[in-house]
Symmetry: C2
Subunit: 365 residues, 2 copies
C-alpha cells in the first residue's frame, strides 16, 4: 500500500522532471509512510522522496533504534539539535546529485523555503501544488472500509447519545457525551462537535465550547459531529426536535430533507462536483429559503476538509473512490437553523452511496 | 489591553519602516484581538495592522452583523467566495497607500506569499521574524493570573485523578480520567496527556493514544499533562510509584528532584536561559545519569511551546513576565524513565516562582 503510493509520487516526479520531493505536511507524511508525530503542526518530521529512496527525518523521541517503517527502500535520519533537516538535505542532495527539489508550496512556510534555498544554493527549488492531497482524494478499498467503519460508529454513537436529550441539558453536555461514548470505546472525535440549540442552530459553524445553550421545551437541536477510526474520519449532521416543532419548522425540514436526498442522487448523475452544489442551492432558494453560507459539501479522509471541493466554485471532477459530504442547510438568523449531512462515497459505477445511515426522517422526542 | 498590544505592534512597524503588517497566525490574531476561529490551521481569519486601523478578515460564520471586537479603531471585512483576502488587501493597500507590507515569515505559507506578491505587484513584501511571538513572550498580570489559575486546576486534577491508580488500570484510562475531570468542570486539556507506565516512561514523548501500557505491581508511572483555562495553558509532569520502587529508582528520583529544584533556583540567578539548561544537564550527567533528549524547558502561554527557549542552544535572555517550564528527565531505554516538570513565572524581581504546586516528594501509593 505505502510502496504503491510512493511509486505514484515517483512517477509524478519523473513526469515533472523533478529529482526529489520534500514532504512537510503531517497528513501527507502519514499517507505515504504511516508515520505520525504527536502534533500536526510542530514540524516534527519531514519526508524526502527520490527515485532511489524515501528518507524520513525525525528526532530520537520518534525514531528509536528499533523503529521500522511499513515500506521498503527507506532510510531514517535523526534530527538533532546541531544536525537538523538542512544538514541532512545538503548531504543527500550532494550524494544523490539532486538538481531540482520539489516542495509542497501550499504547506511549506515562507521561512522554511528561504532557509532551504540559502542552504541548497545550487539546487532549483520547484513549488508543487496539491500533488499529494490530490492523490489522497481517491481512496482505496482499505481507506473506504475504514471510513465506512467510522460512519457505522457515528450512527451508533448518535443513536445512544440522543437518548439523553431532555429539558435542561446543555449543548456542552451533549457534545461531551458524544465524546465520552467514543473515547470509552477507544475511538476519537473527528473534530469538536457542534451541538446548537434554537437560535444557536442558525449559526452555521456555531462554537459549542464557548456557547451557553440549553435544551428547552420545543427546542430545535442541531448535532454535527464525526468519528476518527484508525486515522480516518466520518462527518454527519442530524436535527433533533424536542417536542412538536411549529408547522414552519416541520415544512422547512421536509423541504431540506428532500433537497438533501435529491442532491445525493444528483451526485450520481454529475460529472463536475459543482453541479450538486448549484442544484441544491437552486432547489432551496426556489422554495423561498435563504441561500446557505457554506459549501454543499467537502472531501473527507485523513482530514475533515480535504479534496474534492463540493462548492459552486469547484473545478473538481467526480471520480471513483472520492468520499464527500452533502450537507445543505436552512438558517434563519436569530431564530433557528437546520442542516442535514451525510458522508457519501463514489462507487465503482460512479454512483453516490451514503455511508452514514442514521435515520433522517423528522426525529421528534 | 488589546489596544496596548496593537500600539506596540504599530511602534515596531514605525521603527522598521513597514507600513502595515499582515498577521496570519491563529494565536497571534487571538493575542492582538481576542478573536478566534474554530480551527487553528484552516486560515479562517487574517488581521492587517496599519498605523490608522486594524482590519479583521473572516467569513460570515464568524463575523455576524452584531460582531464586535474588544478594541477600538478597527474594521471588519467579510471573506466571501468571490471576494477573498487578496481582493480586500488590494483595496486597502491602494486606499491607505501602503508601500511596504510586513508578513509573518515563520507562519505564512510559500503559496500564500506568492499569491499576495502577484496581486500586490507594487507593494514591497517584507518578511518579519517572530515579531508577535516575541511580544507574547512577556506576559502581563492578567495573563499570569490565568496561567496561575490553570496551574491550580492542574494540581487539583492530578490530586483527584491519582487516587484511581491501581493494578490493571491502563495508561489510556488514566489519561481519559484526567480529561473527564477537567471537561466536567468546563476546563480543557492543554495537550494530549502523556501517561506512560514502566518501559514506556523511558520514551520522552510517549504516545499514550497508541500505547498499551497497564499499571502493574511496582509500576513506575509518568504523568505529563496541562490545563487550558481561558486560552492559557499550564504544564506539569509528576511520577507516581505504585508499590515500593527499587533502590536504583528511588535514588535516581531523589537526584532528579534535587537537580530540578536547583535548576529552578538557577533560573533566578541566570541572565541567559541556556544557563539553567546547561546547569541541569551537567548536574545529572556528573552523577552518572544519561543526558536527556529534550530541552530543559520551554515558554508556555497561549501555546504549549512558545518563547522563550530554555535549551542549550537558546539565545533568549531571562525577562520579567516570562512563563517557562523546567522539566529535566532521566531515561533508561527499555527499562524506565522519569521526568519532573513545573510551570514557573519570572517575577518582577527576576526570581523564578513555581506555579504548579503539586508535591514533588516521592509519591508511593
Amino acid at each position: 500500500m505505502y510502496v504503491e503510493r510512493i511509486e505514484r509520487v515517483k512517477t509524478y516526479l519523473l513526469g515533472k522532471k523533478i529529482d526529489a520531493l520534500l514532504v512537510s505536511n503531517f497528513y501527507n507524511i502519514l499517507y505515504l509512510t504511516g508515520f505520525k508525530t504527536l502534533t500536526t503542526d510542530e514540524r516534527e518530521a519531514f519526508v524526502l522522496i527520490t527515485q532511489n529512496k524515501l528518507y524520513l527525518f525525525s528526532d530520537e523521541r520518534y525514531l528509536s533504534k528499533n523503529y521500522k517503517l511499513p515500506t521498503t527502500n527507506y532510510e531514517l535520519r535523526l534530527i538533532e539539535p546541531k544536525r537538523g533537516l538542512l544538514v541532512h538535505l545538503k548531504e543527500i542532495v550532494g550524494k544523490e546529485k539532486i538538481k531540482t527539489l520539489g516542495f509542497e508550496a501550499e504547506d511549506l512556510k515562507y521561512y522554511e523555503h528561504f532557509h532551504i534555498s540559502q542552504q541548497l544554493a545550487e539546487t532549483k527549488l520547484m513549488p508543487t501544488d496539491r500533488t499529494l492531497v490530490k492523490l489522497r482524494e481517491i481512496k482505496d478499498e482499505r481507506e473506504i472500509a475504514l471510513i465506512e467503519k467510522a460512519c457505522k460508529i457515528t450512527d451508533k454513537c448518535l443513536e445512544d447519545t440522543s437518548k439523553i436529550v431532555k429539558v435542561g441539558v446543555s449543548e456542552k453536555e451533549l457534545a461531551f457525551k458524544l465524546e465520552v461514548w467514543l473515547r470509552e470505546k477507544g475511538y476519537d472525535l473527528a473534530f469538536d462537535p457542534i451541538v446548537a440549540v434554537d437560535e444557536n442552530s442558525a449559526i452555521a459553524h456555531y462554537n459549542t465550547k464557548t456557547g451557553e445553550g440549553i435544551v428547552k421545551k420545543n427546542s430545535v437541536i442541531l448535532v454535527d459531529f464525526g468519528v476518527k477510526y484508525k486515522d480516518y474520519l466520518s462527518d454527519i449532521t442530524r436535527m433533533i426536535f424536542f417536542g412538536k416543532p411549529t408547522d414552519g419548522i416541520t415544512v422547512a425540514y421536509e423541504n431540506l430533507l428532500t433537497a438533501q436526498k435529491k442532491t445525493i442522487e444528483k451526485v450520481t448523475v454529475s460529472r463536475k462536483l459543482r453541479e450538486p452544489d448549484l442544484f441544491c442551492r437552486e432547489t432551496l432558494t426556489a422554495r423561498g429559503y435563504p441561500n446557505y453560507p457554506h459549501s454543499t459539501g467537502h472531501g473527507v479522509g485523513l482530514e475533515i476538509h480535504e479534496y474534492p471541493k463540493v462548492s459552486f466554485t469547484s473545478e473538481d471532477d467526480k471520480k471513483i473512490g472520492q468520499v464527500i459530504t452533502i450537507e445543505p442547510g436552512v438558517y434563519f438568523s436569530g431564530k433557528w437553523g437546520m442542516r442535514i449531512e451525510d458522508t457519501v462515497v463514489i462507487d465503482d459505477d460512479l454512483t453516490a452511496r451514503t455511508l452514514t445511515k442514521y435515520p433522517k426522517e423528522i426525529q421528534i422526542i
